[in-house]
């Protein structure tokens, strides 16, 4: 294909990505070093209330935003502030104070560090869980009778396809207050339980939700991979006296290795964005994630202002995080790709 024809084929798609992905990224980078504020003016006002003999008058100095006469909106100024927004998000002064006082736990009270801690542990701990559960389901389906495979795949797809916010809400409703599963747990443990009152129980539910939600994806891909396992290798392994577990370790898993890496990469990308659980479980008081932090800055506060600069700074930090996370698996695939080509 000539490069000119190629250009016309990909032009619409590339244009969309340039305008709506690349340009916003540049814009976020610039915004994170700027602060836009309404221009304020101080006005002296005298308010008088009628009183006996004389009026009581008070003079007040108020700061009010200047309203633009043309547009009717408050005038704003934008200034370059360097790393001020990053400083406001990271709150390094508090971090150093906590370190010098030896109170390491205090760092995790600061929103950004709390979010970072949760996002990273969540991303890394759900990965083996999802891979393990997915592989287990795939192996079980693969050895089940043909007639039940279709229905099982259908049921397995449901958690994956369902709207994540609704999925987390469904689990929330099972546990909230005296939800039936909380009651069941209370009966087993013989104690009073409130699942959404402290951080660690919420986190456990989040892990459960994420595995429930993502394991079907791993399962479907592993299941497809299992169909292409070389039967001859497997049979010769049997003849050599390999046990079932040894066959799994030395024949099946190596065969599935490219798929494991594929799922791992997709999983890192998707779970690093963890966000819907926090909305569904209403856990913002206890557990927050990086993407939720940016979202929270972007939602207008009570006065109707959005903290765009701080949102941009936290967005940039979030982005740096995912790039670092992905470098290791991507470099590995890159090397395999090169090694395979030569």
């Amino acid at each position: 294909m000539k490069s000119k024809t190629f250009f016309w084929f990909v032009a619409p798609s590339v244009l969309m990505m340039l305008v709506f992905i690349a340009a916003p990224l540049v814009s976020v980078l610039i915004q994170s070093f700027q602060v836009t504020q309404p221009v304020m003016q101080t006005v002296e006002t005298e308010t008088c209330t009628p009183g006996f003999l004389t009026q009581t008058c008070t003079t007040e100095i108020k700061t009010i935003p200047i309203i633009d006469e043309v547009t009717g909106k408050p005038q704003t100024t934008t200034e370059w502030v360097g790393f001020l927004s990053y400083q406001r998000v990271l709150q390094m002064d508090k971090v150093w104070a906590a370190i010098s006082a030896g109170q390491w736990g205090d760092i995790l009270q600061i929103d950004f560090w709390k979010a970072l801690r949760f996002t990273l542990t969540f991303t890394l701990l759900t990965l083996p869980l999802v891979l393990g559960v997915g592989l287990a389901i795939a192996l079980a389906v693969n050895s089940a009778v043909q007639s039940i495979r279709g229905p099982v795949i259908f049921i397995s797809l449901l958690p994956f396809i369902i709207t994540p916010v609704i999925g987390s809400l469904a689990i929330y409703w099972l546990f909230v207050g005296d939800g039936i599963l909380t009651v069941a747990l209370e009966n087993i443990l013989e104690r009073d339980i409130a699942m959404f009152a402290q951080a660690w129980t919420i986190e456990i539910l989040m892990y459960v939700f994420r595995v429930w939600n993502n394991a079907p994806f791993a399962f479907v891909i592993f299941y497809a991979g299992l169909q292409t396992v070389n039967m001859d290798t497997l049979e010769s392994a049997v003849i050599d006296g390999a046990s079932r577990l040894q066959r799994l370790r030395h024949v099946i898993i190596p065969h599935l290795m490219p798929l494991i890496i594929f799922i791992a990469i997709i999983h890192l990308m998707d779970v690093y964005r963890v966000f819907e659980e926090i909305v569904g479980f209403r856990s913002q008081a206890h557990v927050i994630s990086l993407q939720w932090l940016t979202y929270d800055f972007l939602v207008p506060d009570d006065a109707g202002n959005r903290a765009i600069s701080r949102a941009s700074a936290s967005a940039m930090l979030t982005m740096i995080g995912i790039v670092i996370l992905l470098i290791i698996p991507l470099r590995r695939t890159w090397r395999d790709h090169k090694g395979g080509a030569h």
């Binding site: 490069s3 024809t5 190629f6 016309w8 084929f9 990909v10 619409p12 969309m16 305008v19 709506f20 992905i21 916003p24 990224l25 540049v26 976020v28 389901i137 192996l139 079980a140 389906v141 050895s143 089940a144 039940i148 049921i155 397995s156 449901l158 396809i161 369902i162 709207t163 994540p164 916010v165 609704i166 809400l169 469904a170 689990i171 409703w173 207050g177 005296d178 039936i180 009651v183 994806f217 479907v220 891909i221 497809a224 049979e235 049997v238 490219p258 594929f262 990308m269 966000f275 909305v279 993407q291 979202y295 972007l298 959005r306 949102a311 967005a315 979030t318 982005m319 995912i322 992905l326």
Partner: protein
């Protein structure tokens, strides 16, 4: 095929099947349970005992319930609806519509079928059964509490249908535009072996990894102030992009592009390039070859990719909740409004009913397109 040595021992097979049964229960339980909850009076829906939630004594006491007869008739009607949907309906669609309009035919057929079902099930059956129940005496007494009042208040009183229409608009826009744009790019990328194509794919992969909030932080200031920014260019017609459904469509299409072009590229690579080369030898340009030779055979891949675009547009919460205002809100962010004001248990059950309304179309989608979804998931992975 499995030789004797490969066969599992009885214990292992029981373990494996038991695990599978447990997984199926786990996968379907939350969804089934909220569906049951949405049909009960508030006190039943959040009752501590599971049995009360299922049978719904409070709901029954309020006079809303199903008798044995209702249940038998209801199940029969449902059974035939599903059987005819897969047996009679396809034949009818093929008879009435010519094969060139088959896609339109399916849409019309499915919509008509759904409307007919709703009329029969919710319009005709209840009054008829009401009379019959009165005649039957003890058999006609309600045994299971069930009420559709929450659905009524969600859809009619709270005008959830408006959110539904917004969702429909956004999703339809996202699917059509991302497929049109993505198919061209996917084809181009599959047929070009150049370095540029390779780097485009790598950049798309990096874009795929970006959390969406990063992008929204970039859009927001521009969208809110777009009227002023565009004024020098467009004059007084310059729109405020914030709150516009079509701006959301553009945003979601762009967010979806990296995934779409990767997936379509892998489908196009499966179509032998000899096909379009033959057309080129016969004097077609690349675009003609694409239109006449490739387009007729690309539909399985396009449908699969379309399903995933649909899911992205339909399931999105973050982008739509930040960039749309209240009037143009889609269903998923609209439900957040329910649980923010959720003060009474009635509000909570209405939220449950709204949630079930949102996932019902997805349930149908998996039922009809299970094979395409599976092939789509594996398309990218198995070839590596």
């Amino acid at each position: 095929m499995a030789s004797k040595a490969m066969r599992q021992s009885v214990g292992l097979r029981a373990l494996s099947n038991g695990f599978l049964a447990f997984w199926c229960l786990l996968a379907s339980f939350p969804i089934l349970w909220i569906t049951v909850m949405s049909f009960k009076a508030p006190r039943d829906a959040f009752a501590a005992s599971a049995w009360d939630v299922i049978t719904g004594p409070e709901t029954r006491a309020a006079g809303n319930g199903l008798s044995v007869l209702d249940i038998i008739v209801g199940i029969t009607v449902l059974y035939f609806t599903i059987r005819w949907a897969f047996g009679v309906l396809p034949g009818l669609v093929r008879q009435v519509f010519p094969s060139s309009l088959i896609v339109l035919g399916w849409l019309v057929g499915a919509a008509a079928y759904a409307i007919a079902f709703i009329i029969v099930f919710f319009g005709i059956l209840p009054p008829v059964l009401g009379v019959l129940n009165g005649l039957l005496g003890p058999l006609g007494e309600p045994i299971i509490g069930l009420t559709t009042i929450h659905y009524y208040s969600v859809w009619v009183e709270n005008a959830f249908f408006r959110n539904f229409l917004n969702s429909l608009l956004v999703t339809a826009g996202v699917v059509t535009i991302s497929l049109t744009v993505g198919t061209l790019a996917g084809y181009g990328l599959a047929r070009s072996g150049s370095n540029l194509a390779f780097w485009l794919l790598i950049i798309a992969l990096v874009f795929r990894a970006l959390p969406h909030s990063v992008l929204v932080a970039g859009y927001l200031p521009w969208f809110i102030n777009s009227a002023e920014i565009l004024r020098p260019l467009l004059g007084d017609i310059s729109p405020t992009l914030y709150g516009q459904p079509w701006a959301i469509i553009a945003v979601l299409v762009a967010i979806n592009q990296p995934f779409t072009i990767w997936m379509l590229r892998s489908f196009f690579q499966n179509i032998p390039s000899e096909l379009d080369e033959a057309a080129r030898v016969d004097g077609c340009s690349h675009f003609q070859a694409f239109r006449r030779v490739i387009m007729p055979v690309m539909w399985p891949g396009v449908i699969t990719t379309g399903l995933f675009s649909f899911l992205l547009g339909y399931n999105d919460f973050l982008v739509t909740s930040l960039l749309l205002d209240a009037q143009n809100q889609t269903m998923v962010p609209a439900i957040a409004g329910y649980f923010n004001r959720e003060t009474t248990t009635t509000d909570q059950v209405e939220a449950v009913a709204a949630a079930v309304s949102i996932i019902a179309p997805l349930f149908l989608l998996v039922m009809v397109f299970q094979r395409q979804i599976v092939s789509g998931l594996t398309a990218g992975a198995v070839k590596g």
